[in-house]
Amino acid sequence: MRRRRAFVFFAISVLVLFLCPWLGASPISPSDALNSSGLESKIFWQIRMPRVIFAWCAGATFGVCGMVFQAIFRNPLAEPSILGVSAGAALGAAAAIRFGFGTSFLGAALPVSAFAGSMLSIAIISALSRMVKGTKDATLLLAGVAISSLFSSLIMVFQYTGGAAETHSLISWTMGGISAVGMNDGLRALPSVIISLALAIFFSGELDLMMFGDEIATTRGVSIDRTRRLLFAGVSLSIAIVVANCGPIAFLGLIAPHAARSAAGYRHKNLSIMTAAIGGSALVLCDTAARTLLAPADIPVGIIVSFLGAPFFLWLLFKR
């Protein structure tokens, strides 16, 4: 039963990855896409394909990072947005937009500022965790909630005191949206999925044991502090790269691992791969909906993810 479900999920993931680039405001046939001089070919290879690749990598990263956070904190509700990482990135982006340097350096200032913001929240949480030893799980999680709240209030100050145009672009960014033009943009989230997935697979044995608490993990041979620090730094960095490029997208880090467990079980080696497949294809699907539902207008993908994600998550919870 579980194996069949795993096969179905994988088949859907692969199908989504191959089908979605063909969907969009204007239909593109395979011959158009392969004709390198045509406009359709440019749309397919320079706009749709990079966007699908970025969405898959970003979705997979959100999923895998959510899974790792859930194991580190032994809390099924842990996900990147609850730990202040997303809020830190949003604050960085908000500062760039509010103070008008978001478009400088060929538009690179905004993602760089967002990245700096998320690293700031990681630094604060890590410093707090070193100060308060012993109750690390709950402390880190609650510290993340407090930092999120603090940063959100600062973002609201920027929104309140900013002009109409700044406030509009600020709100749009915090809704989460994917825009990738050219393969360079498309591959921006590739390092994050490689880092997070490699870490999750390499430390899968440790993650399994950490689910049973620090005492069991330590006495089975896991160097718990070192492992936790490494994982936390690695997945936070991955999330920072993604959020800096597409804004905070809530829920994927929660939904993807939960859905993956129903197909791949709880062992983190298989679970990591299944979570990446589900997270990646879910964001590709949502982004395809975002760019086709009201075409030519582009709906921020964060809205679609939350709109579809919330009922799906409730269904997952109650069908148990």
Binding site: G213, I216, T219, G265
Partner: protein, 271 residues
């Protein structure tokens, strides 16, 4: 690989947690294949000294030698090849199967042991502890007695020379207490593994252990053979209440009388 018992030497171990003295100059030694029970009142430091031994508490002063080598020089992984731990309470409400949980016990041997060897250790441990019947069940569906058997089985599968158990019979009914005691005795006698158990059950300590160590206020208060605990007034000094001893009506394999505390206010337990 290890497997047969290894000795343990604890000398001058002191521990403070949050500015409070938990252990003061604790010293004792345990021979290969020995079975000792640690007794004492709540807060006497019984669990804490064992947590120092298994590597959960690392900031103690003094020396703990496992198999002749200083514990502080071991990595967590290398220590886990020598000492296994059965905690008093663990968060086992994770829906892994028992077999998957048992496979995790082989973590310290990853890269050293082959898959076939791992499978053999796991199946032997499941058979020895009687946990084979629940091998395919999920951890979060087990009863208290089954969980304890699985926890002991996983410590056995870890294939260490020492197993440390923190209150292995707490929360168990009489039948499961007897089963857990039998499993511990079997692991000690058949495998020769050195066993250290914290217990509040003085009758269990007398029945299964070869030596009893009593802690009081973070210090070793008494250390001797089970029969010695019957010395006049010793149990009262350890627990703060007087004890009565009773001889069971139908012999059995008991070498010692049953001990029961005399309840305060003249409310004595009825034999």
């Amino acid at each position: 690989m290890s497997g047969a018992g290894i000795p343990l030497e604890v000398s001058g171990v002191s521990l403070s947690l949050d500015g409070r003295n938990i252990l003061s100059d604790v010293a004792f030694s345990v021979g290969s294949g020995d079975f000792i029970c640690m007794v004492g009142r709540n807060g006497a430091g019984k669990s804490s000294i064992f947590k120092c031994v298994v590597g959960i508490y690392k900031n103690f002063s003094g020396v703990i030698e496992i198999g002749g080598a200083r514990s502080s020089e071991f990595s967590d992984r290398n220590r886990a090849k020598l000492v296994a731990y059965v905690p008093q309470s663990a968060s086992l409400d994770v829906p892994y199967t028992v077999r998957e949980f048992m496979e995790m016990a082989r973590y310290p041997w990853r890269g050293v042991s082959t898959a076939a060897e791992d499978a053999r250790y796991i199946s032997e441990a499941l058979m020895m502890t009687g946990a084979i019947d629940v091998a395919e069940r999920r951890m979060n569906t087990l009863s208290g007695g089954e969980r304890q058997k699985v926890m002991i089985a996983s410590a056995v599968a870890q294939n260490t020379g020492i197993i440390v158990l923190d209150e292995p019979t707490s929360y168990l009914d009489y039948e499961h207490q007897a089963e857990a005691a039998e499993v511990m005795a079997r692991v000690n006698s058949e495998r020769g593994v050195t066993l250290l158990a914290v217990t509040h059950d003085i009758n269990l300590a007398m029945r299964v252990s070869r030596r009893i160590i009593a802690l009081a206020d973070g210090r070793v208060f008494w250390n001797g053979p089970p029969s010695g605990i019957l010395e006049d007034g010793l149990l009262q000094s350890i627990y703060g209440v007087p004890f009565e001893s009773y001889f069971p009506r139908s012999g059995g394999d008991w070498d010692y009388p049953l001990l029961a505390p005399v309840m305060p206010g003249g409310c004595q337990s009825r034999a």
